[in-house]
């Protein structure tokens, strides 16, 4: 019985199924949920290849092949939204990735437990602020007339900048407010990995006369490299799906040329223009690229370092 299913004979399997029929009843409800809200919508993806009439439903709407994909690739928006999406997420990853690691490594060196706890608690807190409140906060603090940031800038002798309605600053505000919000949260996972390091490694390094910096670089960092690589893969998998919520909230007509990304484009085409098929096609394009990216980064990570998702 302790053996896993793989080693069971078919007749034992049937016996097991009979004996544990309740397990299937237990999982029934979650499976129904998956079918209704995940698998049936997947079936609905076909409207990307059809001219969808709400009145006719999925099955009755006529096939149009790749018409909507071609329409998307030819449209002037294509290069803009794809470029904006990739630019924004790569900027987020490159700028945001090192901070939690540095924070965790730094916290790991400090001996005062109380200071560590305080820093952790404070840097972790913004994670619980909702996206709406965060963006509202940005509007308030970055306001060109009354915002505290511009007041500080003014003192330094620089003129006010209207951060929130400026094409050039949209990405910076997006990325750095993101780092502000998630640095503490992201550091936790690295801290957990750091506490898992065998103290003997550190002691051996001390005896060998390694300085603190050398111990961080040659003991701590290699020990958490598997965590780093896995999180890096995961973040690359999300390249094409940068958070819709925050971008949409930060978007206004003035900064649209840098802030229009695939996700907001899909939403606008689908809901505001009611072009369901076209919107679904764009969404499908996004998820396919996404999957290819995760798979590719995963293969590279496997080759380079032995660590991978699958």
């Amino acid at each position: 019985m302790i053996n896993s299913n793989l080693n069971l004979l078919p007749k034992d399997k049937i016996k097991n199924i009979k004996k544990h029929y309740q397990l299937y009843l237990i999982i029934l409800l979650p499976v129904i949920y998956l079918v209704v809200f995940h698998y049936m919508p997947m079936y609905g993806i076909q409207i990307a290849f059809k001219r969808f009439y709400v009145t006719r439903g999925f099955a009755e709407s006529p096939w149009v092949g790749l018409k909507y994909f071609e329409q998307f690739f030819r449209s002037p928006s294509f290069s803009v939204v794809v470029r904006n999406t990739i630019y924004l997420s790569i900027y987020s990853i490159i700028a945001g990735f090192p901070f939690p690691i540095i924070l965790a490594l730094a916290l790991n060196e400090v001996r005062s437990k109380r200071f560590v706890k305080t820093v952790q608690m404070v840097t972790y807190a913004p994670y619980f602020i909702s996206t709406v409140v965060l963006v509202g906060l940005l509007y308030q603090l970055l306001d060109p007339n009354m915002g505290i940031v511009n007041k500080i800038i003014n003192i330094l002798g620089i003129e006010s900048i209207s951060f929130m309605s400026n094409t050039d600053y949209f990405r910076d505000v997006y990325v750095w407010s993101g780092i502000w919000q998630t640095m503490g949260y992201a550091a936790i996972i690295y801290l957990a990995a750091l506490t898992g390091i065998d103290p003997q490694l550190q002691e051996a390094a001390i005896i060998d006369g390694a300085s603190r910096l050398k111990r961080i670089l040659h003991v701590d960092l290699p020990c958490i490299s598997s965590t780093i690589i896995i999180l890096f893969i995961l973040s690359f998998g999300r390249i094409m799906s940068v958070g819709f919520e925050k971008v949409y909230l930060m978007q206004n007509p003035v900064n649209a040329s840098t802030s229009e990304i695939i996700a907001t484009y899909v939403y606008k085409i689908g809901f505001l223009n009611a072009n369901f098929s076209f919107s679904t096609a764009v969404g499908l394009f996004q998820s396919v690229i996404n999957f290819i990216l995760v798979a590719t980064v995963n293969i590279i990570a496997k080759k380079v370092s032995d660590y991978s998702l699958w």
């Binding site: 019985m1 302790i2 299913n5 004996k19 544990h20 309740q22 397990l23 237990i26 999982i27 979650p30 499976v31 949920y33 998956l34 809200f37 995940h38 049936m40 919508p41 997947m42 609905g44 993806i45 409207i47 924070l103 730094a106 916290l107 060196e109 400090v110 820093v119 840097t123 972790y124 807190a125 619980f128 602020i129 909702s130 709406v132 409140v133 963006v135 509202g136 906060l137 308030q140 603090l141 009354m146 505290i148 640095m183 503490g184 936790i188 996972i189 957990a192 300085s211 603190r212 910096l213 965590t227 919520e245 909230l249 899909v266 689908g270 809901f271 369901f276 919107s279 679904t280 996004q286």
Partner: protein, 296 residues
């Protein structure tokens, strides 16, 4: 000689580390303190830019305006409903999914697991999901805020890992021999042993319900169903302040000032429920992340 050299370098490094940590601390804390102070200050002082760290001429006018606003209060009420019932539904569904998946003699475990994991990588996308919500007939109802997000596969995996590691297979088998059926085992033995993970899950789900606005944006049309975040978006981001909110003041500048203080107050009021309980439950969150990290 070597040792001395090291310790001097070490000390310089520690100075940098401490500087970095203090800098992070202040960068995160300052905006939060500023918002709190501005929300408590006299509107004209906020406008004039006299608030830097502490409230200037403290007043609660921002807060009284917030609590007098029926739209905001209704948003609070709705968000509470969605959070409370949504979280209960989430917990039930998560446990129902995680328990069978954690049992070794659950024939077809691999199949079911794959069924769950596929949904992490593929989805129908925005429009097909929306059409499905319409088809199920829950568009523009309270159920639309709960059913489409009845469980998160990631949380199911975390809970499953917890079940696997804390409920010994031997105990499970012993209860089977005593004639205890699976459902009974789950209710009587597994759940009482799982309060830590249930607390973590309740917090994860609860916070995400409280903070979410996207589903409401998609599925709700009736204003009386709007959760807090949608109302906040109108006020904070779209700057639609109801003129009746500030009718007591006729001078435009003062209106502008009050509007600002009201916004700061709203930010505080909306984030406070989560931020107040957060220090107490922080260790559970950390635990949850670590269980998740064990087996991703």
């Amino acid at each position: 000689m070597d040792k001395l050299f090291n310790s001097k370098n070490d000390r310089i490094l520690m100075v940098f580390i401490n500087l970095f940590l203090w800098f992070s601390l202040i960068m995160v804390l300052y905006p939060l303190i500023y918002v709190l102070s501005a929300s408590l200050s006299k509107p004209s002082e906020v406008i004039a830019g006299n608030v830097w760290l502490f409230p200037v001429e403290p007043t609660l006018v921002g807060y009284t305006t917030v609590f007098k606003n029926p739209k905001l209060m209704n948003g609070f009420y709705n968000s509470f409903i969605y959070m409370f019932f949504g979280t209960i539904l989430n917990l039930v569904m998560t446990v129902l999914a995680a328990f069978p998946l954690s049992r070794k003699n659950f024939v077809g475990k691999k199949f079911f697991m794959t069924l769950f994991i596929i949904t992490m990588f593929f989805s129908g996308g925005l429009i097909p999901l929306y059409l499905q919500v319409v088809r199920v007939g829950i568009l523009d109802t309270r159920l639309a805020m709960m059913l489409p997000i009845a469980l998160s596969v990631w949380n199911v995996i975390i809970t499953r890992t917890f079940f696997q590691s804390t409920i010994p297979e031997a105990m499970y088998e012993a209860s089977q021999i005593d004639g205890c059926k699976d459902f009974q085992f789950l209710i009587r033995i597994a759940l009482p042993l799982s309060t830590p993970i249930l607390a973590v899950m309740a917090l994860y789900y609860g916070v995400s319900h409280w903070n979410s606005y996207f589903n409401a944006l998609l599925y709700l049309k009736s204003e009386n169903l709007f959760p807090l975040q949608i109302v906040l978006r109108e006020i904070l981001v779209l700057s639609k302040i109801d003129p009746t909110m500030i009718q007591d003041f006729d001078v435009i500048l003062r209106k502008q000032g009050l509007a600002d203080v009201v916004k700061y107050s709203i930010i505080v009021v909306a984030s406070l429920p989560v931020l107040i309980i957060y220090p107490f439950v922080q260790k559970y969150f950390v635990k949850g992340i670590m269980i998740g990290a064990l087996k991703g």
